[in-house]
């Protein structure tokens, strides 16, 4: 199994690591039982329920997992930074894998959960601002990975 140079770069120098004090949303995906777990904190500006106006102004993550999981979280955080919520909701796992110049096939399912974890944080944000109705429409993390 061989990781791309981009994966190794993000693994060795992960971007946006950490947590945010008083975040607007927190999202988690994965499970230590399957070996990969990631948590994202986001800040949203402006504090709007207009998904095309509200943007992710700050994003931080923490990951327990293999090299791929760390690189995925780092890359997904970079891709989501500054984007509107609707743009992030439309991001897919493949977008992250492609931006990393691919992932080994075995890593595509379990480790490639960065997008879902960020979408969980968006769901959390929408719930916090009282838009449960919008939150349920965001896919987020598949149930078996909670």
């Amino acid at each position: 199994m061989q990781y791309s140079q981009k994966v190794m770069d993000h693994f060795m120098n992960p971007r946006n690591v950490g947590e945010i004090e008083n975040p607007d949303g927190i999202g988690t995906c994965g499970n230590p039982v399957c070996g990969d777990l990631m948590t994202f904190h986001i800040k949203v500006e402006p504090h709007s329920d207009d998904l095309n106006a509200a943007r992710i102004s700050q994003i931080r993550f923490k990951t327990f997992g293999c090299g791929a999981a760390i690189a995925v979280a780092s890359m997904a955080s970079e891709m989501a930074q500054g984007k509107t919520l609707s743009e992030v909701i439309q991001m897919s796992r493949d977008d992250v894998a492609n931006s990393l110049d691919g992932l080994p096939p075995i890593k595509m399912h379990c480790s490639n959960i960065g997008v879902q974890a960020i979408q969980e944080a968006i769901k959390d944000y929408l719930k916090r601002i009282g838009r449960q109705d919008l939150a349920v429409k965001v896919k987020g993390c598949p149930k078996e990975s909670h």
Partner: protein, 389 residues
């Protein structure tokens, strides 16, 4: 890559570097001594003599007769012949017993035999990886054809109480096979004293070449061949002998016979010193495997809050080759079946590291680990959501 030159190789349970003495013994048999042992001419006779002599050296290490040794391509083939071969040679007994921590070369073969109507029982292990003898005692009966339990585990190094297992097995007239690829050449084995029926060994696990192994079969034990063809290996394993490999295996056995007692002590001291330092410098680490009944070169432990593959990748970038029981390194999505069977929580199994030391390792190598591992763990813990300072 330049990195390969300074590779500190601490993965000797996976495979070992071929000993230069073994390589020297093998080299003439590639070109200057080209004979096929089955040929009648001088070159053939020389090859035959060399193969016979190597067979004698293997049997000397195991304390058996040389006609009880069958050369194979390695541990996996030996295990396959032992299990399938005994099944195919009879029809009366239809039960196989193995352990939950076997190498896949045994586990998968036993599971395959269920297709042919064999009942399979897997004996559980305790938290140190020792098989449950009471369970085994209840499981073995007069329908049991074969009990196959490894001599020592490749991941943890835990050594099984083979003597007691054999006593239980023999009470019911079952055949006992052991996958001994991790112990042959490392600890003394006397097949006669043990009354083991079949034993698998592999050359590359103890400084021989890859692609050669052997199966010991006690005289009188019936088994069918898997590879049919010519009369090689007394018609039990057809195919022209791997002469250079066989010579290499013989040399590896002869070296081990001379050196293993001293080497075992040296490795134990080296390993215990490594573990002591890791334990002192890294909080929240726990040993996997038996504290004393364990191969002297094997060190397996779990690092809390951190995943194994990410540690391996960082060690690799520092030029250190090791191994882990994390899902990421098994090629599947499951953590090590061995650690899980021992009752180790999944997260800790994913966070396991194995350093297996060997003949060519020195304190310089273990010092390198001690120098870099605490920093690697700390960095990964900093980004772990499971870790709270």
């Amino acid at each position: 890559m330049a990195r390969e030159e300074k590779c500190i190789y601490l993965d000797n349970n996976a495979t070992t570097p071929t000993d230069p003495r073994v390589l020297d013994a093998m080299l003439p048999y590639f070109h200057t001594m080209p004979g096929n042992p089955s040929s009648i001419h001088a070159a053939g006779r020389k090859a035959r003599q060399a193969v016979d002599s190597a067979r004698g050296r293997v049997s000397a290490l195991l304390g058996c007769r040389s006609d009880e040794i069958y050369f194979t391509s390695g541990g996996t083939e030996s295990d396959n012949i032992a299990i399938k071969g005994t099944c195919f040679a009879q029809e009366e007994r239809k039960k196989i017993i193995t352990s939950s921590i076997e190498h896949h070369a045994v586990l998968t073969v036993c599971e395959y035999m269920q297709k042919f109507g064999y009942e399979l029982v897997k004996v559980p292990v305790d938290r140190h990886g020792i098989v449950d003898l009471d369970f085994l005692n209840r499981a073995v009966d007069d329908h049991t054809l074969l009990v196959s339990i490894m001599h020592a585990n490749n991941e943890t190094g835990t050594i099984e109480p083979i003597q007691k297992i054999i006593e239980i097995t023999r009470r019911h007239g079952a055949i006992f096979h052991t996958d001994a690829v991790q112990t042959v050449g490392k600890i003394p084995i006397d097949t006669n004293a043990l009354m083991v029926d079949m034993l698998s060994l592999s050359g590359h696990k103890f400084y021989g070449p890859k692609g050669i192994g052997a199966l010991y079969v006690r005289r009188g034990i019936r088994f069918d061949p898997l590879a049919h063809g010519g009369h090689h290996e007394r018609s039990k394993r057809a195919g022209t002998e791997n002469v250079p490999g066989i010579i290499g295996l013989g040399e590896a056995c002869a070296i081990a016979l001379n050196e293993m007692t001293a080497e075992e002590l040296r490795l134990k001291a080296l390993r215990d010193r490594l573990w002591q330092s890791i334990w002192e410098k890294i909080p929240k680490v726990s040993l996997n495997g038996h504290p004393t009944e364990r191969l002297s070169g094997t060190l397996n432990f779990s690092v809390e809050y951190v995943e194994g593959e990410s540690m391996l990748l960082k060690l690799d970038l520092e030029g250190i080759c090791a191994s882990s029981g994390s899902a990421c390194t098994s090629g599947s999505l499951e953590a090590s079946h061995v650690l899980v069977a021992m009752g180790i929580p999944h997260a800790l199994a994913h966070g396991s590291l194995r350093f297996s030391l060997g003949r060519f390792n020195t304190e310089k190598d273990t010092d390198a680990v001690i120098n870099v591992l605490p920093g690697i763990v700390e960095k990964l813990r900093e980004i772990s959501p499971l870790y709270q300072r």
